[in-house]
Symmetry: C2
Subunit: 120 residues, 2 copies
């Protein structure tokens, strides 16, 4: 009765595709941004610094396909499209938020390690 046992360490395990999607900087930043509130496409592009429209669109499509993000388009002119995390997507807010904070809180330590390594 137990469901199949997935193992991301196995190259052929389908769950690997899911790890590849979430262990990704763009995914992390988009989920972090959407964790606060639903956002329009343009807002998202502003918040996720350095992302191009193309990459944002593609990543959002992938996240929508995986059921992590819900897209709502309003029939207005000019168009307005809003994105928000689904229930499933919200279960990623904590783990990915933790990654973002780790990068910020430990960056100085990382920088020192890099300097030490490069000095050799």
């Amino acid at each position: 009765m137990s469901t199949p046992e997935w193992n991301v360490m196995l190259a052929t395990c389908p769950s690997r595709t899911s790890l590849a999607r979430i262990a990704n900087k763009w995914t992390a930043m988009i989920v972090i941004a959407l964790s606060e509130r639903r956002l329009r496409f343009g807002e998202l592009r502003e918040m996720v610094g350095g992302i191009s429209g193309k990459v944002l669109t593609e990543t959002l499509r992938d996240l929508e396909r995986d059921g992590l993000v819900a897209r709502q388009a309003y029939a207005e002119i000019p168009p307005r499209v809003e994105y928000e995390l689904t229930d499933l997507g919200r279960t990623l807010s904590a783990p990915l938020g933790a990654l973002g904070r780790w990068a910020e809180e430990h960056y100085e330590q990382v920088e020192r390690a890099r300097d030490a390594y490069d000095t050799r």
Copy 2:
């Protein structure tokens, strides 16, 4: 006296380089593998399914440079090289382990979402 405030959402923030390193599937799998115990290069290559020797070497170098992994080479023939997480690297075991488990535990839900999306 507060340290500079890093923000990974800003394209120009140096901490972004750190996020890019840890929000990565190879990094995640290597850290997960090394969370259990120190491993030889060959053991690591076996555990991280599908990784090539080249990519494993490069990723380990990057992790070593960032102070997340320590490398110890023994002057033996044939050579033996062991890798282990540093104290800093161990602080990533929980967050990256959580990502790996998320991928495994939620994969079926993701798969259903993909099927539904592709059916439209």
